[in-house]
Symmetry: C2
Subunit: 374 residues, 2 copies
């Protein structure tokens, strides 16, 4: 495959917004184009989980191209649930790698906060296996089952889980794009409202609005796509081999490492899908950073903090940066690009190779992307 580079990236502040999804996506896109200094491209690849139900518009790719002022640029949408931003990036990457396109603008976003929480939960629950959904399962309820199993299997307690939120909220204070930019204490997390035992409010990412963008090009640039991997699993939790490791992440990571010719030890910074706090711990194990059951210990020791040997979620993660579902997989990539280029300001870490990890559904459709400074 031909090398593919990232010429520019951009994103909106995540959080509650009164602006439209089109407007948020256009801001992210324009920022990426300005960052790249490139305003001509062959196609637009859009990542969005469900614009039809979140904002009521369909055939969204053409609608967005028109809104951006590029109505005649071919535009399509890619979807893998909550990891749609990474999926759009992947499809754009293969299109450039194939030689069919030279430059592709990838834009991903979602607008959620204007809806009631029950309506958002209903839309999100469409990603749950229909049979399990028929018994009233929600995303937090299933995540709670995973969490319980993990705590039981590895002897991990509520304090360790809470530390994910404390760490990521701290990182969020250093990220002007984050939904939440204030610290939370261990006590605040552990005493916050119970959502689905043992998951409390501060173990869960917020409902957010926002968008992210990246311009991919075949022309040499300082940051390249070193490898990508896509992994899937049974949507139904009851059909899985394990509750405490996500097969879809393991498979995606293996493919990405192989393609990039890297090992977990080569990764110097990572954005990891922490929609629920324990998912960060599980994912750092699935990605091979720490042995099974040892992710929490690494966290407690500060290894994944901003000044640790492997900073995880310098952006604040889904927990503090927020989770406008379709946007997140691409926002993670944007953060890694900033980190590799030395543009992450107060949360800058030292890294030449970075990884982003995005979960679709309840870890049924996951992506791992490895980026490298050339």
């Amino acid at each position: 495959m031909a090398e593919v580079y990232i010429a520019g990236v951009g994103m909106t502040k995540f959080g509650r917004s009164e602006r439209s999804l089109l407007n948020l996506m256009a801001e992210a896109a324009r920022t990426a184009l300005t960052h790249a200094g490139i305003y001509e491209f062959d196609a637009i690849y859009l990542g969005a989980m469900n614009p039809e139900e979140f904002v009521g518009d369909g055939c969204f790719a053409a609608l967005f191209a028109d809104y951006l002022g590029y109505a005649y640029v071919p535009s399509l949408r890619v979807e893998t649930g909550t990891s749609s931003g990474a999926a759009a990036f992947f499809a754009a990457w293969t299109a450039v790698a194939s030689g069919h396109y030279r430059r592709v603008l990838v834009v991903a976003g979602e607008k959620m906060t204007h809806l009631s929480t029950p309506r958002v939960a209903e839309i999100l629950s469409r990603m749950i296996d229909p049979y399990e959904r028929s018994y009233g399962a929600t995303m937090p309820a299933l995540a709670a089952m995973v969490t319980r199993a993990y705590m039981e299997e590895h002897g991990v307690g509520p304090k360790e889980l809470a530390l994910v939120a404390v760490k990521n909220h701290h990182n969020g204070t250093l990220n002007p794009y984050a939904h939440f930019q204030q610290e939370v204490s261990l006590e605040e997390v552990m005493e916050s409202r119970m959502i689905a035992d043992p998951l409390r409010l501060y173990h869960c990412c917020p409902i957010s609005d926002g968008a992210a963008a990246a311009l991919l090009t075949a022309e040499e640039q300082p940051v390249k796509v070193a490898g990508m991997g896509h992994g899937t699993d049974h949507p139904a939790l009851r059909h899985r081999d394990s509750l405490t490791s996500f097969r879809a992440t393991v498979a995606a990571a293996q493919r990405a490492y192989k393609m990039a010719d890297k090992r977990p030890g080569d990764i110097q910074v990572a954005e990891v899908h922490d929609a629920f706090a324990p998912f960060e711990i599980i994912s750092t194990e699935d990605l091979g950073f720490f042995p099974p059951g040892k992710g929490a210990r690494a966290l407690v020791k500060g290894r994944t903090a901003l000044d640790g040997d492997l900073p995880i979620n310098p952006s604040g993660g889904l927990k503090a940066r927020g989770h406008p579902v379709g946007a997140t997989g691409l926002a993670q990539i944007v953060e890694i690009v900033w980190q590799l280029k030395g543009e992450a300001e107060k949360r800058q870490v030292e890294a030449r190779v970075g990884l982003s990890h995005s979960i679709g559904g309840l870890a049924s459709n996951n992506w791992v992307t490895i980026l490298e400074r050339v």
Copy 2:
């Protein structure tokens, strides 16, 4: 770009079905795999317009992979409204052409008939420009405006429009996969119920259920993808340069011809998006088969009939084969593969090069695919 071949294709009968979308898609997929004699592939690319609203399930790509018995095969979904089946084929094609994947299964489908017609119309209307939609515009209403403008500009009358339906219903009688398999007379079309003046019931495609599939591979096979083009336009009709020619088709066709190194005169059979009868006439002009305003004359002369010099919609088209929206763009490709391989039975024409043309939204996101017998 590396050459990409079609190793096998399949589809379900289109029409009203009591079966689930997953079940329909799986039948099409299994038929394509059997046709290819290949049962191992690297990824699944799914085309569906809106499974969330049509059937209530999201993150549909992983759900389908699991249902098919390939839960561990990476699966993603591509969407461009009513042309999603062609969009998924395109994204899969670039993935194989890039060398990232060697074999990709493309599956596209939609399940619509279980919903009330007003609900289907509501879901379809999400593809209309939001401002025009806010005045109550529906797809047939906008198509009627286009039709009126075309009739006025080119002096075409209701009889010519009706002949599209008569021709395509005749072809449908020869296609066991078609939703409608009976002839309609000119009188029946011209006296059918008015939907949106001047469009009558028999000028409009039906609401259908169904699925189609194709296996793409880098390994040499009798039929290859010669070229593809993607074209877009302003979703809002009021912003278009012309009402009587679809810019998105013209752009897609130019790109596909250039890539395939073909001219319109090289095409020997075509599947054309006739969601409304006049769209077939307009599209045969946009594709360069006939000069502007001369499409109806070619139809009247029988040039586009099954025994004409350029058979259009041998399958029966959207009008008679039916239009399960996300499936259609891929079903057209399936028909062309059958025609090129001499497997189209009673509706077989003589062709070595064929074209399919799919419209997304009200011609805001269109695709042209050129296939060739090697």
